[in-house]
């Protein structure tokens, strides 16, 4: 082997590492140190193919995967560095139908760029949004975001532009941008992928938000379970500061903005925005009463934009390409694209960014390829642990905020977890309640006590399935469970207790017979 080193790309995304990417990278370094330049990227989100090795050739980036560390020698011998044929060769990933059919706006750079390289970011369209924003007035920036139709991607789907307008309208003085990176929903990983694979997009989005509302300080509230994201963000923040993309004089504009990262301590409730603010201020992560809205009285009592990672990372493309460009994706009141996260018992899990309107069936079967077990798919849970279970009979439902709420379901943060016909749905209802019991902050009674009482009721119902009797009678327990759901739904202080009835009731509605027998 001689000549200029060949560039190889291996992901350092936590999901890829879990599948062996670090061992593959180490093996490449050991066996081909002089012949290759190894770039650690984010992941494209085709997790069933990870670890993927991509080789830069004259014909483009040729991928191989899934690659085992012990295959490296053989791959090198058979000409991988020239893009030669091999059983593991995938060809150009950009042409792979799974990726080619996606509409990647927010996740466009994932798996392609070096997350620590600002030059890579700039070469792939990065900071075009900020350049545009620096030439605009704050109210014009807010208007573009409003017109784009962007809604909060963390779950509540509140129109982002309206939230920003509220913060902009508050009297001058300290204001904050607080990024919610406490991605705690089961089966979700879009925030993590973005922070690990394209952290500058979040930094750019937050900077634009700061310019829009007159905030000069931003905080990323990052869950402690994301150490790779913490490292990637820290690196990118340093580079952005060194190159004048953060700090006291943004790109010579005289405007200032900087970002600090704060780590959570492992509480799901701190993903609820007011608990997150409490935690950011150094207090017990307990829900605040609203009003006042965080947009009026948020972090340290000041007007605060609270948005999640995907929302903020979607802003640069909107500013760079215009409100209309973004709004033209999607359907009804759900505009733009959503990075869906497909997980659970599914053959091809990963990140699917598409315009709103893709049906559950298309996602689970066309992208997911059905269950990993090969058994029939029975249900999906959409929107995290507090999302409803949707049975296979309803898989023609489009993934859009309004369509799902019409089915008493939620889109949430866009996580879709697949279950095959062996899933015990009564136990899934129990899981929802026990999750709430473990994660409840303990402030309000319906959530603090109701979740545990719910677990106890479901435990009794499960113990007496298949014709078993019990005391109290099963019919009384079923009625009590229903009443409990009502009390939690209407009585809880925040979405944790208030939404836990969604999965429970969806099981009662669609799989009630599983409470009777299995």
């Amino acid at each position: 082997m001689s000549g200029a080193p060949v560039t190889l790309f291996v992901s350092q995304d936590a999901g890829a590492i879990a599948r062996g990417a670090d061992r593959v990278a180490a093996e490449i370094a050991r066996q081909a140190a002089g012949a290759v330049r190894l770039v650690r990227t984010g992941s494209r989100g085709m997790y069933w193919l990870e670890p993927v090795v991509e080789v830069e050739t004259s014909a483009g980036r040729i991928a191989y995967g899934p690659v085992k560390p012990e295959q490296i020698g053989e791959l090198l011998k058979s000409g991988m560095l020239r893009g030669a044929d091999h059983a593991a060769k995938l060809g150009k990933l950009a042409d792979h139908p799974w990726l080619a059919s996606q509409q990647r706006l927010t996740s466009a750079r994932l798996g392609i760029v070096d997350p620590a390289s600002l030059d890579d970011y700039l070469a792939h369209g990065g900071y075009a949004g900020l350049e545009a924003a620096l030439a605009m007035s704050p109210s014009d920036i807010v208007r573009v975001v409003t017109e784009s139709g962007l809604r909060g991607r963390g779950g509540a789907a509140f129109p982002t532009g309206i939230k920003w307008q509220t913060v902009l309208d508050q009297p001058a003085g300290p204001k904050y941008i607080a990024c919610n990176a406490d991605e705690g929903d089961s089966g979700t990983f879009a925030d993590r992928m973005l922070m690990e694979g394209d952290p500058f997009s979040l930094i750019e989005g937050m900077t634009i938000a700061g310019l829009a509302v007159g905030a000069s300080r931003g905080y990323v509230y990052l869950r402690v379970e994301y150490p790779h994201a913490a490292r990637a963000l820290a690196k990118a923040l340093t580079v952005a500061r060194e190159r004048g993309y953060l700090g006291d004089d943004l790109r010579g504009s005289g405007r200032s903005f900087d970002i600090a990262v704060r780590l959570g301590a492992g509480a799901y409730i701190c993903g609820e925005e007011t608990s997150m603010l409490e935690s950011l201020e150094g207090r017990r992560g307990e829900v605040r009463v609203r009003p006042p809205l965080p947009a009026i009285k948020g972090l340290f009592g000041r007007p605060t934009v609270v948005n999640n990672v995907v929302t903020l990372a979607s802003v640069p493309v909107i500013l760079a390409r215009g409100a209309e460009f973004y709004r033209d994706f999607g359907m009804g009141k759900s505009r733009g694209t959503l990075p869906l996260q497909l997980a659970g018992n599914v053959r091809q899990g990963g990140l699917v960014e598409r315009a709103f309107g893709l049906t559950v069936r298309e996602l689970v079967h066309d992208y997911g390829g059905g269950s990993a077990s090969g058994r029939p798919v029975k249900a999906v849970q959409i929107g995290g642990p507090l999302g409803a279970y949707l049975p296979a009979a309803e898989f023609d439902t489009p993934l859009d905020y309004e369509a799902l709420s019409g089915k008493d379901a939620l889109l949430g943060h866009g996580g879709v977890v697949v279950f095959d016909d062996q899933a015990d749905m009564a136990r899934m209802a129990r899981h929802a309640l026990s999750f709430c019991a473990i994660e409840s902050c303990g402030k309000c009674t319906p959530c603090r006590l109701g979740s545990t009482r719910g677990v106890e009721i479901v435990d009794r119902l499960i113990a007496t399935r298949n014709g078993g009797g019990g005391s109290p009678p099963r019919s009384a327990d079923l009625a009590l469970l229903d009443e409990l759901c009502e009390t939690m739904f209407h009585g809880s202080l925040c979405g944790l207790g208030g939404l836990t009835p969604y999965p429970v009731r969806s099981v009662l509605r669609h799989f009630r017979d599983e409470f009777e027998r299995v």
Partner: protein
């Protein structure tokens, strides 16, 4: 625990411009910034409450003070919702009664009726009784209760004792310690069902930063924090206003 005839308006007074609204059909005028709970109490339409008391800032945790407001979805808490001009509030309805019973039954699953040594003065037991709850359907032999402190009863303080079993985690003691006394000796530790009142870093009251001022005992709606004298001598038969002679400040006492 307050004197029995004290009319607790639920939240502190506000001092804004006058706002007129309708509560259960009656016209009420109160200063802007007043909570619906206080406005209703001033109009003798008291809303049930457990975590609210007019000596402390509104907190919104007990969820028995929920009301209906025309044109608004759901059931907002009356303690944390401020009045607005022309607002039409309903404090009583079938749905509200059901919801309040639902919440109270959850409370009673942990704090059985009659368990308080000061039952007649226990705000929870009185409220549950008013709502026709004698027992909780949630309670059974396997019902989990919030975790005991190392010693369920902390009798270390010479003047009062804390019985975690009777605590409903309303945070009134924590807030009184913080807002009234400024001592910050109390906190809630743990989360979910394991949330419990702790003095300093989970120490016995006597060894903690507690200064034995009694604000927490006064604020407690149940018998969780109770004067030892009540346990030995029973509840007071009458109340008199007097002045504390301990130091030169001369705080008035009832």
């Amino acid at each position: 625990m307050y004197a029995k005839d004290y009319h607790d308006l639920g939240t502190p007074a506000a001092s804004g411009a006058s706002v007129t609204l309708e509560i259960d059909g009656a016209t009420v005028t109160v200063p802007a910034g007043t909570s619906i709970m206080r406005a209703a109490a001033l109009a003798d339409r008291d809303v049930p409450k457990l975590c609210a008391t007019d000596t402390l800032k509104q907190f919104g945790s007990c969820r028995v003070c929920l009301v209906e407001i025309e044109g608004r979805r759901g059931f907002p808490a009356s303690c944390t919702t401020e009045v607005a001009p022309g607002m039409k509030v309903r404090t009583r309805s079938e749905a509200l009664a059901k919801l309040r019973r639902g919440v109270l039954e959850l409370y009673v699953s942990e704090h059985p009726m009659g368990s308080c040594p000061a039952s007649s003065r226990c705000e929870l037991e009185s409220l549950a009784e008013q709502h026709g709850i004698a027992a909780s359907r949630y309670a059974g032999p396997d019902t989990a209760r919030h975790e005991h402190t190392h010693a369920p009863i902390d009798a270390s303080n010479p003047y009062f004792r804390f019985d975690n079993d009777l605590c409903i985690v309303c945070s009134r003691c924590v807030r009184a310690c913080e807002e009234t006394q400024g001592t910050f000796a109390l906190t809630i530790e743990g989360r979910g069902l394991e949330s419990r009142v702790a003095a300093s870093q989970g120490e016995p009251f006597l060894e903690s930063e507690c200064v034995s001022c009694g604000a927490c005992v006064e604020a407690c709606p149940t018998g969780a924090l109770l004067e030892k004298s009540v346990l030995t001598a029973g509840l007071p038969q009458r109340a008199v206003a007097t002045t504390c002679a301990y130091c030169g400040v001369g705080c008035s006492l009832i």
